[in-house]
Chain length 315, copies 2
């Protein structure tokens, strides 16, 4: 067998990533067997998967460690959006190279992720292909009564968003320019490359919010999922929305991985306590209402958008 | 938004696959939210993922429903290899086409799988790319004391294999000939396209076997994983091994998804009862022993192989 075969790659670079977190995640058997073995007898479990494709979800020339880290973050973000605690991740990697330094740098990004969020890698798979893609599975634990569904919004709920929308889009464009970036510009590229997932905040938020979604495809498209599944409409007030760059990109591009959630007005005080406790920026930007679509108003005048959310089948 | 975008595709073809099995799988929330919600409070859980890439794991011109079915089977096979019961599957699909009839036929293969094995689809993801790949996550339940590990083999265990090795390789080659196939030939292509997973047999086998692996990469390579992890060697007797075609391909190609397991000689009677109960063909082909490699003997003369197992990084 060649040195660079599947099993030697797995053994050399991917065998024990995050194994210091096996106990805290109730992981009994990690990578290396037919399946990973784990346990969760007191709570319910949630699972989600996200696939990131070269040239679609990340720039083809992006450093491998950044591809790896971001692929994990965008998948794990779904666990926070439900209010869960991240338990483990699993990685299916289609490699378009056999360059060991590329693979080693990719593994470095995984290690950075598992150390940041203190979870183990349960397992994964490795294959060669013509284009690189990374499919990350994420598993979390949750009390089912606290699951923040997209279907739970109520009419008259206030709509909130965390952070500032559009930062990631600006960061992505700085990266595309492929030049030396100053510190100011790097704060934006970091928003794109390393969105921060606020698991602890989201977990407490799940006790008071009625619905929640993470903003992967843009506020308008993602809030529309809440509307569809909650059988409601939403009014957004542009003057309230914190954004960078132009409002149309900030509201439709996505990649911010901030949370958008709906909250009964009676819970505003509880939210403010959470905001203070976790030093989170969360802004009231609109209200859920009867209806079936998202309407955006700029000082009472309705604004129309060409496209509601990022859709890579349109690119 | 275009009609063929991600969300309309998901809604049209992938929304409720296997939802009649939500209750039997303790699945509380299926596809459509940020994550799927499920429960398993009495047993432990196992998870595995397998990625199948066009042109590597399946022929580029294979019908989409066959790509889908086979991708699910090869992933789910890992659950049987541990002795677990399949609970749900999750599918990340990278689409190289926007042809609706292709997608619809792919979904048909998923439906055939979930109906055959009576499990729901928990969720998944969809992206476009230059080449088709399917990453399937599979989750099963198990009692941790019965987990059939690759690391559990004992010296003097007998080594068994189910079915007949090499059938899948012959079937794959019939498919490559791209011509009308007769019924005899189709029995081989079915071994490649639709290996049958014997979950119930494997579950009972887990009570008596010391180690087990499913044969994805060929008997020699896969048994070598058992040897490495059990810190043992193995002697195989070629005259005992049931195979089709040539022995070198049958022992090194893989794709058969039969089970190879090691059993204490004292459990042979129990195994024979299981074999009769489930009408399984299982053949004693060798013995575990002290050492660190797999040795194959043809009437006491050792045979050497160029390659121990299928390794797609060598192709």
């Amino acid at each position: 067998m060649k040195e660079t075969d599947e099993f030697s790659i797995l053994k050399e670079f991917f065998l024990d990533l995050g194994n210091q977190f096996h106990d805290s995640s109730d992981l009994l058997i990690g990578p290396g067997d037919d399946a990973g073995l784990f346990s969760e007898k007191n709570k319910e479990l949630i699972f989600s998967t996200d696939v990131s494709v070269s040239g679609v979800h990340f720039l083809e020339n992006l450093e491998p460690n950044k591809i790896a880290f971001r692929s994990c973050v965008v998948a794990a973000s779904d666990i926070a959006a439900c209010g869960g605690s991240l338990k483990w991740i699993s990685i299916s990697l289609v490699l378009a190279t056999q360059d060991k330094s590329w693979i080693e740098d990719f593994a470095r990004g995984i290690i950075e992720f598992v150390n940041t969020y203190k979870v183990p890698v349960l397992g994964g798979d490795l294959a060669k292909g013509k284009e690189c893609s990374v499919s990350v599975g994420v598993c979390g634990s949750i009390d089912k009564d606290n699951f923040m569904s997209r279907a739970g919004a109520q009419s008259e709920d206030d709509i909130y968003v965390t952070g500032t929308l559009g930062d990631a889009y600006l960061g992505l464009n700085f990266l595309k320019e492929n030049r030396y970036l100053n510190d100011h510009e790097i704060t934006y590229t970091n928003k794109y490359l390393k969105p921060k997932i606020e698991f602890e905040f989201a977990k407490e938020l799940s006790l008071i919010a009625n619905s929640c979604i993470d903003l992967s495809d843009g506020l308008l498209g993602d809030l529309n999922h809440i509307c569809e599944q909650s059988k409601l409409g939403a009014n957004l007030f542009l003057e309230e929305i914190p954004f960078s760059g132009t409002y149309d990109r900030a509201l439709t591009w996505g990649d911010d991985y901030e949370l958008c959630f709906s909250l009964p007005p009676s819970k505003e005080k509880d939210l403010n306590q959470l905001i203070a406790k976790y030093s989170i920026k969360a802004t009231k930007i609109g209200v859920m209402k009867e209806g079936n679509k998202v309407e955006v108003f700029d000082n009472e005048k309705e604004i129309h958008f060409d496209q509601a959310g990022y859709n890579h089948f349109n690119e």
